[in-house]
């Protein structure tokens, strides 16, 4: 990520003076990530440049430009069917823009080969709208899946699974299969899976979609906590109450898709 060797060394020196554990379930590696993030403040975590997208019919998104700077907290709103999920998919490379370009960590996604794309996705935590678990694996294995597929070298860098499950309040449900979970439990598990690789950025697609108010506050709390640790957050949601609740805790920017374009929403929220 364009860090000089000297900078990396000073980071690892700094890390060695830090306590082994912070509040957030994490290891030294996570703290390293956080400091990395601060070093690259000048750059953007994810950047869309004049992006247009169409599923084959008319254009769904056109001329969308947005930059997520490290540590920022964004909401993405818009009516149902306006293209929120599509925009998130463009951000993590599940879709390729029809026009314009998407960069992640300063790399143009079009230039990445399949393996590099896999590596990139380990740095972007995604909470999918429908969670997307493997139904034959117990919850703990589902949450640990990004670690599992990354191989042995990544296991040390990731979070401690037990701590993470505690953090989202799912310790008791470790052995349950995903279909046995409630909506709120699924959403929290999806969030846990999204952060287990200690990614620099978290994209969440309607994370409070089908949970009650109390649970949505709890999920928001987790996301706010992650943001305070330096993670870049982008949440697609049309839940205005949730956005107001977030605004009272952290500086939040609200983006709205309207008429195929992305706008910065005003103070009317």
């Amino acid at each position: 990520m364009g860090l000089g060797r000297a900078a990396k060394e000073s980071i690892s020196n700094a890390v060695n003076f830090l306590p082994d554990r912070c509040n957030y379930p994490g290891s030294k590696a996570q703290v390293t990530n956080r400091i990395h993030t601060e070093y690259i403040k000048a750059g953007h975590v994810i950047e869309l440049e004049n992006v247009g997208y169409s599923y084959g019919g008319g254009e769904l998104l056109s001329d969308v430009s947005v930059q997520l700077i490290p540590g920022s907290f964004h909401f993405l709103t818009g009516p149902s069917g306006s293209g929120k999920s599509t925009l998130l998919k463009l951000c993590y490379g599940a879709l390729t823009p029809t026009t314009g370009r998407v960069r992640a960590f300063e790399a143009d996604m079009r230039d990445l080969d399949r393996d590099q794309m896999a590596m990139l996705r380990r740095r972007i935590g995604v909470v999918h709208q429908d969670c997307r678990f493997l139904d034959h694996l117990p919850l703990a294995d589902n949450i640990a899946l990004p670690l599992t597929v990354s191989g042995p070298d990544a296991s040390q860098e990731g979070s401690d699974l037990k701590e993470l499950m505690q953090w989202v309040g799912l310790s008791e449900r470790a052995h349950a299969l995903p279909p046995e979970l409630s909506g709120g439990e699924r959403q929290r598990a999806a969030l846990a899976r999204a952060v287990i690789m200690s990614p620099d950025v978290i994209l969440a697609d309607e994370p409070t979609g089908n949970v009650d108010w109390e649970m949505s506050q709890r999920l928001l709390q987790l996301l706010v906590e992650l943001n305070r640790m330096g993670k870049t957050i982008l949440i697609a949601s049309h839940d205005l109450a949730l956005i107001r609740a977030a605004k009272s805790q952290v500086p939040v920017r609200v983006l709205r898709i309207s008429d195929r374009r992305l706008q910065l929403a005003g103070a009317d929220l």
Partner: protein
């Protein structure tokens, strides 16, 4: 593939294997197909090797030995035999020529006429065994000379009637190898079908794995490992049954001729042990390419 990844493939990463759910019928299909095909391959191999041995032996005998018959009235037999032997020793390309004794001739005829045969009762010709040197003799030239000097001599160099047999044995050997190639191809096709079925049954799983940052080779490996191991196990069982079947065939014997010679000899018993390895290799390649074709279609 590097050696390291072949090792992980075989020893296995238990977690990696569990990531893809067990896939019922494709597992049984692969086991059954590779078992049945390996069973058949053992017989095709036995056929091919036996036919090959037969062809080689016949061709060798055919090239090396001939018989000279002397049909002459009793009073001229000894003189004509001596004359023929003299000509034969003078002919370049003949290593050795030897008149069979009365006992040897009787021994040759016993299977046909019974033990209490008196040769003197029959107009049996005198036989001379001719062993060819390398390079051989000129059969046409020898015949001409014999016709001039030994009127009762007939040179029988077996060629006329044995050559088609050798050709038959050789084409039987080719057929055996062709059958093995067909078995390999059919196995590859069946395993490709089974792998494709497993891949499309798990399309959702594969998509999720891609989304959370699994590399293609990790996903492919989960499938490849499964199908390779199944093919290995199925083929091992098939080969065991096939070898049992071959062992149950009657021993090779003079009386039985070709049919009883079907089987393996000496070190060639080890050849069928390669069949499971080949089966595993076929499954490996078939699943690997099926998985990569499927993965290419995902982002």
């Amino acid at each position: 593939m590097s050696r390291g990844s072949i090792r992980t493939l075989m020893l296995g990463d238990a977690q990696a294997a569990r990531v893809v759910p067990p896939s019922g019928f494709t597992a049984q299909l692969t086991l059954f197909v590779s078992g049945a095909m390996a069973f058949l391959a053992v017989f095709a191999l036995a056929l091919s090797l036996s036919a090959g041995r037969l062809a080689d032996r016949w061709a060798e005998e055919l090239a090396r030995s001939a018989t000279l018959r002397i049909n002459a009235p009793a009073d001229q037999r000894a003189a004509q035999t001596a004359a023929a032997l003299k000509i034969l020793t003078q002919t370049p390309g003949i290593a050795h020529a030897r008149a069979l004794t009365a006992e040897q001739q009787t021994a040759l005829l016993t299977p046909w006429f019974g033990a209490d045969l008196d040769l003197d009762d029959l107009p049996v010709p005198q036989l001379i065994e001719v062993i060819e040197a390398d390079p051989g003799y000129d059969a046409a030239g020898l015949r001409l000379r014999l016709a001039a000097e030994v009127p009762g001599a007939v040179l029988d160099d077996h060629t006329r009637w044995r050559r088609p047999l050798v050709e038959a044995a050789q084409s039987l050997r080719r057929l055996g190898w062709f059958a093995i190639a067909l078995i390999g191809g059919a196995t590859a096709a069946m395993i490709t079908l089974a792998a494709n079925a497993a891949l499309s049954a798990n399309a959702q799983v594969i998509e999720v794995l891609r989304l959370i940052g699994a590399r293609d080779r990790y996903i492919a490996q989960a499938f490849v490992r499964r199908f390779t191991l199944r093919a290995l196990i199925g083929a091992t069982v098939g080969v065991a049954f096939g070898l049992g079947g071959v062992m149950a065939l009657p021993e090779a014997s003079q009386e039985g001729g070709f049919l009883t010679g079907l089987g393996f000899q000496g070190l060639s018993w080890l050849l069928p042990l390669l069949i499971p390895l080949l089966g595993a290799l076929v499954a490996f390649v078939a699943t690997w390419s099926a998985a990569h074709r499927t993965l290419k279609e995902l982002t």
